[in-house]
Symmetry: C2
Subunit: 344 residues, 2 copies
């Protein structure tokens, strides 16, 4: 059973998950995985190799059979397990709780070698629908306070299987970076009466230099203070704290933007390893965890997608201080990406 | 000229340093460097290949000539430049300031292939002396508010040259992780009237399971909520916010502990890539930056050394949330390291 532990000094929660690891020798870097399609558990025809699906968009009516476009299954080796009662947090100097959570895999296509940058928009729309539907369903479980939807592309970004997939993790705690974001957006709102992300979007549109693409419903801009090279955030123009509020029109618009942005990365930076992370407000306001309080998260938080290429290395300075050296000016990154962006 | 920028939402400073990079193609992973000793700028006899030394422990009296044990030189490709006036922080939504700082290289030995784990204790004592003397000297420059002393071991931990060396960076800002630590230690002190690190050391000694080694003056313990596998902190038993207060006796004790701990890592985890980071209080109390205030840092902060092996990978979940999956229980890590620890 894994365990959640909180750092006594900075308040960061981590999950200690020994069943996923790993003696030290198993940490040796592995070559880029190149599993054959006939043994890939995510390929069409191999549905028996996964746990039973919890969601699918499919033609056939039979679950766990071929004939699907997108399929969501529980992770066989989850970081957090869904079974069990959530224990109260053990407080004091060394806070901890049991590792309850959910960990699901969104298989984005039945095609082993498809790349999202080359996928038809309808397929990306289906993937976004799967994200929304699964988060909506998982939210009914009141043990979970926060949801993380993310994608690891290539081994250097943490992908262990090459078949295109994303992951959804449900957490019983609020992760540190989100607490920091909520503290910042809450403070800004109380001082200015406006959402800080709305103001950032407006400022980016005014300054133009960091804009990669502005569509009818979304703005993709290189991060002003990106800790890594070529970091981009995609913000919805319409203020909302929660990505499940996306309309059909917005989803269609986002699918096209996402595909073209990934193509721009391929063209500007040679198919870099990257992480995509959907950032949304937690489901239950963490009233006591944020110094400024978390009332009105609907007003002061603004969901967005973080695109984090893994190009620059992280050394002792960054790891030990959270002070990052970014070797590419965000304005240069935006210019490079604009050049590589297909028009449609 | 590099520029410091602050994230408008979470307050994290980063340095945008385009002169160090790098078009995208230059990010392609390089093989482990294996430069020949005759062209290594850190080797004895090649002193002309570095900038003039700012400190050395040497037999000969001539600077920048052979005959030295430890040599400190400015980095030829610094993340932050020492020249110039520090501009006031430009506040508002997108805060920034010019990238003033110092970036020095501590060449730990004249021997190209020496590993700190096999070095004589006297040599490690000299390295610690160089750290102290350089930080003491840099502190006279009132533009700098914080100092980071760190070591990257092997390419995967950020080392670009294999000759044993550490780095010292002087910053005009307080990095995010330290602000978080100060907020935590300040809050704990105001609630309990005690240093949280002192209490952690006592609790670790009581519980025993995470202790790797306790010496006369230091306690090395696996981190209770380590975000990565085999994370260890080395705490001085004597409360002090600042590592330059180390006595000669403490320095001798630390040198032996450090050497044996690095040997234990080699034996438990096959010479893993790692970062060593010296964590100390900032030089100027950041009065306004920490919610709880930073009065009495001398009382509530406690310097320590963070040992961060780079075994487990960082994927989208960790990168996007600061929620880490650690696949090795800290108690197991401590047991493994104890087994590998030489007695002397």
């Amino acid at each position: 059973m894994s365990e959640l532990r909180q750092d006594p000094v900075i308040g960061r929660w981590v999950v200690i998950a020994p069943e996923r690891g790993a003696r030290p020798q198993e940490f040796e870097p592995e070559p880029e995985e190149d599993i054959r399609a006939d043994v890939c558990p995510m390929c069409e025809g191999n549905e028996r190799m996964t746990l039973p699906e919890v969601f699918a968009i499919r033609d056939s009516t039979e679950p766990d059979r071929p004939g699907w476009y997108v399929r969501v299954v529980p992770n066989k080796f989850p970081a957090l397990r869904v079974e069990g009662e959530l224990e109260a947090v053990e407080t004091g100097l060394f806070p901890h709780m049991n590792g309850i959570g959910a960990h699901e895999i969104v298989i984005e296509t039945s095609e082993h070698t498809m790349d999202l940058a080359f996928a038809p928009d309808e397929q990306i729309i289906r993937v976004l629908t799967a994200f929304r539907r699964r988060v909506e369903d998982l939210r009914r479980d009141t043990r979970f306070r926060h949801f993380v939807v993310f994608r690891n592309h290539r081994r250097a970004a943490g992908a262990t299987l090459s078949h295109p997939h994303s992951q959804i993790i449900a957490l019983p705690i609020i992760p540190k970076l989100l607490l920091d974001q909520l503290a910042g957006s809450s403070r800004y709102f109380s001082q200015n009466g406006r959402c800080i992300f709305c103001d950032i979007v407006q400022r980016e549109l005014d300054e133009e230099v960091r804009i990669v693409q502005a569509t009818d419903h979304f703005v993709a801009a290189a991060l002003y203070a990106s800790p890594y090279a070529y970091g981009v955030n995609i913000y919805p123009r319409r203020h909302s704290h929660d990505f499940v509020t996306m309309t059909v029109e917005e989803q269609v618009d986002l699918a096209s933007l996402l595909r073209r942005l990934l193509m721009a990365y391929r063209s500007a930076a040679f198919n870099p390893p990257y992480n995509l992370v959907f950032q949304m407000a937690p489901s239950i306001p963490p009233a006591c965890e944020v110094p400024q309080g978390c009332a009105n998260m609907e007003e002061h938080y603004h969901w967005h997608i973080q695109v984090a290429p893994r190009l620059s290395s992280v050394a002792g300075l960054e790891w030990g201080t959270s002070f990052y050296i970014n070797p590419v000016a965000p304005e240069e990154a935006a210019a490079d990406l604009r050049k590589g962006l297909p028009s449609a």
